[in-house]
Amino acid sequence: MCWRSAIEGALVALVLLALLVFAFGATLGRLDPAPLRVVIGSLLLMFGLKWLRKAILRAYGHKDKHDEQAIFDREVQDLSKSSSMGKGLRDSVGFVISLKGVFLEGVEVIVISFGAPSGRLGLAAAGALVTALVVGVIGFSLAKPLSKVPKNALKLGVANMLVTFGTFWGGEGLGIEWPLQDAFILVLLGIFTLVTVVSIPILSKSRIALERVPQT
């Protein structure tokens, strides 16, 4: 793959994201926040539950754990084979992959940013920008130690947070008055983390019991 095409793909994605925010940002700010929270909460719940399901199934051995390095090597090999780059031409595969990745991740950030402080687009955008910078600096400086943290544990944590925020915002949109207000997010996070932590050994035991049943 060619770096130039990948960078161009990322830049086009950033322009598309900026257009998306420009086109819909102001309109979203004027909308009633309740239906918006229902939609954003539903999306977070859907993504969060899908991630959590996959991570739990991996943790108790019903799905193969990801070997990130092997996956990366395989992807690079596949992309090198399908790369259409010739002399002086652009690498269309690298361009599309980069565009798709940056655009999709950007849309996720926009969805989360709009859900939090509805009606305060400037604050949400500033928060997203600061987060991007902080995460970039932390990622760059902690890349090596972070690569040793089990990926599935990270995914379990992120999925629990998505489910927590989805439940909280979705509930607020539905008109549920959460006790303790925003602090109830921590209660929900505790509940979902507990359910995850308890479910993994239970499911593992049931798998081991199943494996011990003699095959006839």
Partner: protein, 68 residues
């Protein structure tokens, strides 16, 4: 054009639904029920997180069956 539309549809289907339609259906049912009943009902402080855990449980059960 048809191929492009099919590819576009397949991409979003894979992105949202893929192998977990029960999660999408469960969340849609939960939100629809909530829109009808949750406003001002204090019981929903309990019902909402419990329903989310039930959806996760059903999805895990189906995932286990698929992997056997």
């Amino acid at each position: 054009m048809t191929k492009l539309l099919k590819g576009f549809g397949a991409f979003w289907w894979d992105f949202f639904v893929a192998d977990t339609p029960e999660v999408i259906i469960g969340v849609v049912i939960l939100m629809a029920a909530g829109l009808l009943m949750a406003k001002g009902a204090s019981a929903w402080v309990v019902i909402m997180p419990v329903a989310v855990v039930v959806i996760l449980g059903i999805s895990l059960q189906l995932g286990r069956k698929k992997s056997k």
